[in-house]
Symmetry: C2
């Protein structure tokens, strides 16, 4: 193991943080344009700076860059996505998804196209305990840094049914815990604000269900 380092903020991450936080949205359609290794290093460095339990740094990221591997992974992702939909609402093709379910239709399209994404990042922890606290803040750092570089992404998961094959495909050890799949690419479409319930409805003040002093 090398000595630890204290990285400085990269010059390229100069977007005001408010704009990154408030215009981050799921991007599920990508241009074929490549993302450079320099940009990927910035994303992974940003991820590494997130809080993590005891600074034990047990998060690991597998970057899939080889188009043939991305295609092979994409097949499993697609199978997993539809397996979950068959179990849940019973959908088997995109035509089964109601037009009002825009997010699901967009996610179905991602499932079809993810094999063509320029890069896919898989997030893990190398410990068997539940370590979401030490991986998911890092994933959010990665997504925000991508937003700041104009790179689109979304945080998705994988149905358990394909995980053993994904582990085998990338020689991932059994002790690794999988936390998420993050496709990356320049957006077809735009970043922008997302609709949310007012925080007056999702924030409580001193006691559960008591509203905060704002609307």
């Amino acid at each position: 193991m090398s000595d630890e380092v204290r990285l400085l903020p990269p010059d390229l991450l100069d977007l005001p943080i408010g704009e990154a936080l408030f215009t981050q949205r799921a991007i599920r359609k990508f241009k074929p344009d490549q993302i450079s290794d320099e940009q990927l290093k910035i994303l992974l460095d940003a991820a590494s700076k997130a809080p993590n339990g005891g600074n034990l740094q047990l998060a690991r990221f597998l970057v899939i860059r080889d188009p043939a591997r991305i295609r092979a992974f994409g097949k499993l992702y697609k199978e997993a996505w539809w397996a979950k939909r068959r179990e849940g609402p019973g959908w088997t093709t995109i035509e089964d998804i109601p037009k009002s379910e825009k997010t699901f239709r967009s996610a179905a399209q991602l499932a079809d196209e993810i094999g063509e994404a320029p890069v896919i990042v898989l997030a893990f922890a190398v410990v068997s305990a539940d370590l979401g606290h030490s991986v998911l803040p890092a994933v959010q750092n990665l997504l925000l840094a991508a937003r700041a570089l104009g790179i689109g992404s979304t945080l998705t998961t994988l149905h358990d049914v394909v995980l053993p094959r994904v582990f085998e495909m990338f020689e991932i050890p059994d002790r690794a815990q999988f936390y998420g799949c993050i496709p990356l690419g320049y957006p077809r479409g735009k970043f922008g604000t997302t609709p949310r319930r007012p925080t007056a409805e999702t924030t409580y003040w001193d006691t559960w269900d008591r509203p905060p002093p704002w609307r």
Copy 2:
């Protein structure tokens, strides 16, 4: 439920995102200075913008603002912190913690002082399933927005032994899942870079254990 809204980035969040991401560190010692409701709204709004599964928005934040309630909570936090240390390394007082364990000594001090923090935020999901993906990115948004406003914080948890009493104290329903405790205050001490392993050691390329093209 009100209609959903599309919030714009607050002017106060103008720090370059690189500086926020790369100089976020755990702040565990706070000045007594108050944090305004306007600032808290910015933090909660930032949290609400994080990705979350299907935009179901199942994260909830309980803001503890009343000093008497913070003190009462602080007693439970302290009991919980030491319960975990007794179970683990067998420490019962701060003198038991080796001087080399700086993070643990600092965390022990937080356990002593958290009852005096200006604000404490508790993070939940209102669903019984594992929803870390829909809460922890929001927590990281909150911490980054705090960093951008010069407000210190750290992401901590609570030992299970005190959770029932915390739920009772704040009338939290059983169906809520607890995800973290975030004390907030202006820092005694400074923000700054944190030591991390080089990402060349925590990033794999196309296959597990294969290094990326950087050092």
